[in-house]
Symmetry: C2
Subunit: 79 residues, 2 copies
């Protein structure tokens, strides 16, 4: 069954509060090498092999899965 | 600057309520090809190039970023 992997990330210019909290937590645990953390969503979508799956996933991202005002997305479709 | 990409997913045997809601929403939008949706976290961590970064990221995942009882994780470290 084809599977789409979708990665949704906050646009780089926006403050990522959740990432900032994780960065502070990691540094306070002693991971001094951590310079920055950004948190995003990772979605795995199982699809039935009908039609142009790339076009469908692109549309799903624009309509529902990502907020194009504040988020970027990318995706892969595996056959 | 080296960057780690971390993917945290709920274990496959567990019900993914958020994924279920997205699946229903996508199907009600007309995407009948959607057979299942699983939601996970995607983290990008910027690191300074000190020591064994793979070992550090593995440890960060176990200690803080993932809950090993209910979640799986995988990661890549880019130089």
């Amino acid at each position: 069954m084809p599977k789409a992997k979708v990665y949704v990330t906050l646009k780089p210019t926006l403050l990522d509060a959740q990432g900032r909290v994780l960065q502070d937590a990691l540094q306070s645990l002693g991971y001094e090498t951590v310079q920055g953390v950004r948190v995003g969503k990772y979605l795995e979508i199982e699809l039935s092999p009908n039609g142009d799956l790339h076009a469908q996933v692109e549309e799903m991202c624009r309509k529902l899965l990502a907020n194009p005002v504040i988020e970027n997305f990318r995706y892969e479709v595996e056959p």
